[in-house]
Amino acid sequence: MLGLALRNFAARKFRAISTALAVFFGVAMVAGTLLINESVNRSFDNLFGEINAGIDVTVRDKMVVEDPFDQGPQAGFDAAVLDEISEVEGVEAAEGTIADIRISILGDDGERIGPPSGGPPHIALATGDVEDFASLTVIEGKTPSAPDEVAIDEDSAETEDFEIGDTVTITGAAGASDYTIVGITQFGSGDTSLGASLAQFTLEEAQRLTGKEGRFDEIDIAAAQGTTPEELAARVKEAVGPKFDVMTGSETASEDAGDITDDFGFLTTALLVFAGISVFVGGFLIFNTFSITVVQRTREFAMLRTLGASSRQVLGAVLAEAALIGLLASALGIAGGYGFVELVKLMFKGVGFELPVTGLRLTTQSVLVPILVGTFATIVAAMMPAVRATRVAPLEALRETGGSTETKERSSRKRTFTAGLLLVVAVVLLGLGLFVAEDEEAALSQMGGGLVLLFIAIAMLGGRFVPPIVSVIGAPIERLRGVTGLLARENAQREPQRTATTAAALMIGVALVVFVGVFASSLKASINDAIDDQLAGDLSVLNKDGFSPIPAGVGDGVAEIEGVDAVAPTVDLPVKTEETGDDLISGLEPGAASEVFNVEWVDGDDGTLSSLAQGEAIAEVGWLESNDLAIGDSVTITGPTDEELEVEIVGSVDDQVGLLVDSLAITRDSAREDLGARFDATVLMTYAEGADPAATRERVDAFLEERFPDTETRDQEEIKQDQAAQLDQLVALIYVLLGLSVIVSIFGVVNTLALTILERTRELGMLRAIGTSRSQVRRMVRYESVINSLLGTIVGTVIGLLLAIAAVQALADEGLSLSVPIALPFVVLIAAIVLGVLAAIRPARRASRLDVIESLQYE
């Protein structure tokens, strides 16, 4: 039977390959993702191994609050602890150092070098005295020895044309300063910094620039001979107490690498989700192709049975063919994985982010997993058709046409029942995920499962509603195009289930595209509304990257500028509370905040805010309710490095989007003094009465350019545009990945058309004999293809819309309201027509070139 499968495979190469392509894309995405994952992990492991080489023990501030978006103070710790450590027995050498990512190295154009936003960090480092600790070597020039000297890494110097003797501006928490480049550095091993730009200063200057005078980010320790790093770490831990993280050098390396690769882990997960979608869509295609070929080969199976083949042997033959296709697709897919890596790199480059992928290496995992996924998916998808093949009775070998209508009718009723059941389960799961689930992970997995079942159920039910929908879709084509349109429509309706499954594959991609589009548009509209309603300030100061904190000195500086009235710097601080765990609170300037915000008070008024004192907090009303708290209750807030602050809730506001108050708001002073905040998220200001807005803004811009060049001013309209642009970039990335699934589904249309044409060979011969021209045959196939893709697109659009409506409804208490981009459905429809025409090219050509006589004799 394996031999037979091989022969079948070889005899239908084109079909085998086009079927394999269905799986190919998904497998390529899986393989590419694993390749990226491995490369990123390896790169960071190497990098941090390098940085921590020669260091036996490190001491750092203990962080008790998760800070995934780097919004925390990152304040370092008091340098005095170094003296205690130096006295610990077994310490050969100990040295305090700075490693700060809140700096920007500016290029000649005054802008941060490297990608504009979200790129790899710029890091300020301090020159040490202990040679063993230094991971950077100077390859040109010297190490900085004066406050106005800096050494820059080789890669940055090269891309920016920095040379020894050049002046470079670098900004930090303390503002901007000019430095003379005195050295070019490189890692000892010659490894790259994975895109990070490194600026090395004298220790004192590094501390000053980063606002950490008298403080360190880390203390590096070398053990004396005879003391192991572990022993030393234990002793140091005892000496410095629980406020510090003490780790051996290798622990530090793996922890640092782990932190970063965890961030990339999100990328891996996201890419795998899209790969999964692609495999799922491919599965539909495999299922359909095998379903059709099994029917077409009814006589062949019956003949095999009359020759004595058992039904198990027939099953084996079909599944073996599926396995072969799966294996072929997977093998190709691994090669395609390299292409996917390039695509992902290109995508990220498009939004200004360089993926740290250096050198791809196949591992057992990145070979085995894709092969297993591809082969398994193919076999699973072919299972039902294979079982159907075993039900072919030997007698059918003698019949003129296969497939009795009775069993069709009965199985169709059973199918409707099963599909209905699946649909119910799918809706329940989606409902649970959207409206009930407490934690994010459960919600996402319930929604994912619900979606999978939903799509399967709709595909199964498709047979029922294909004929009426196709009648509607086909009507205009029929009216405009006459008989070819009529035949195309009739052909699409002939095997409704087949048409449904083909269209369903496309439906999945389209539904997701529409969902993402509508959801993003709703999000955009909600943010815009919130900005319109709540933001009363004339101008904001933000980091140029749009999200990083800005130095605390900005507010004070801006307040001095002529024409500026109220100035309200706002802190965003990651903290912990007993009630909610990790959370983000705001620190507001009580006096000015109500000038720049239109606060929607639920409990209290602007006076509550302006008189807000230390130990008091204002809460967002939704947050208050979901945590069963009320006005007058006390909440204990834990700061990033274990500072504790008890606050009483004295007022509540309605701020679903979280523009002003996401959870709790305390005074900015309290946030700084009691919880260690060092930076502001933004500074909002109003213009003084009678001040010329344009001139005032110009003065503010000039000041920022001079003192804080990595910040910029944005007015309300610009903030909205920035938000929209960021969201659009994300949507674009998602669309590219979903596009791969859509391509897969187009292969589905191609495959179905090709198989259907084969089935109707004799009919086509007859049509040609009675006067149908080649171009009429081509048109007929093309219209059928367009009907197929329109069907998938229209159903997909409806489902995507419904899903978006449900999701927006579920997030209504976050301030989300539905906004449908009017152009989207039309763009999608036009794309469907274009795709349908493209999918038909090859099948239509084949159909039109069929030899009339041979076709008439075809069985």
Partner: protein, 260 residues
């Protein structure tokens, strides 16, 4: 049932007059069709010259492999000859492009197949009208009514092929072949898939379409009974015309075929 050839108004055409005044429905001269090259080549049709005058029912008979189907395919422009020429209704068709041949099929040719080859999703009436719709022409409703009545499916016009018997399906196919009033209808083993009662119906129908509707029909068959419905029988052996004579009865045709 069979009519005497003398009553046929166009029987004169049988005397192989030259086609200067009124061209034959189909004419071929020195027609050959060779398959393959060199040693393995087969000459399926070998220097055949024939005239098929208007208003006549002709059978082409012969044992299997005699080249009768190939001859029909070449005469109908479905296959290209390797030698000789074919005229349909006075137009030389050898060397015509695919689109010209398509036009020819629309204007001058009708086909009836062994497997009825109806479009399963169209009703009987729609199947009959299909050639006209494909050609983008209007169907004369009176002519349609007449045809449906003649073939006897007027009351089943809304039925789809699957709801019709084999004989009824083939009668629909006959109507479809006649709808465009073609110069000639080619029928390839039109009763090959039918029981004897249905066969008789279809053959009588073909006979009437010549006698009453004035059509020209060429039947390719290996069945002497079928061939005996024709006015004239052409016996093909090894690609050559072995006999070309007026039909006198089934026994005569049977004897003719046995003589090979």
């Amino acid at each position: 049932m069979s009519t005497t050839s003398g009553s046929d108004p166009s029987a004169d055409a049988m005397t192989h007059t030259t086609s200067t005044t009124s061209p034959a429905a189909v004419r071929c001269e020195d027609l050959s069709r060779q398959y393959g090259e060199g040693e393995a080549s087969v000459l399926a049709v070998d220097s055949v010259s024939l005239d098929f005058p208007h208003g006549q029912l002709t059978s082409i008979v012969g044992p299997s492999g005699s080249g009768k189907s190939t001859l029909m395919h070449v005469l109908a422009g479905l296959d290209r000859p390797t030698g000789g020429k074919v005229w349909v209704d006075g137009t030389q068709i050898t060397g015509l492009s695919d689109s010209d041949l398509t036009e020819l099929r629309r204007d001058k040719l009708g086909f009836i197949f062994q497997f009825f080859n109806l479009i399963p999703v169209l009703s009987a009436e729609e199947n009959v009208m299909l050639p006209m719709r494909i050609a983008g022409r209007d169907t004369d409703p009176e002519w349609l009514e007449q045809l449906l009545g003649t073939v006897g499916i007027a009351d089943r016009r809304k039925h789809r092929p699957a709801e019709l018997s084999g004989g009824q399906q083939q009668r629909v196919a006959v109507a479809r072949a006649l709808i465009s009033k073609p110069a000639v209808v080619f029928a390839d083993e039109p009763t090959g898939n039918l029981d004897s009662t249905s066969s008789t119906h279809v053959l009588e129908l073909l006979r009437r379409s010549v006698d009453e509707l004035g059509r020209t029909v060429v039947i390719v068959t290996h069945d002497p009974r079928v061939a005996s419905y024709a006015d004239r029988v052409v016996l093909l052996v090894d690609g050559k015309v072995a006999e070309d004579t007026t039909v006198e009865g089934e026994d005569q045709v049977l004897a003719l075929m046995r003589s090979v």
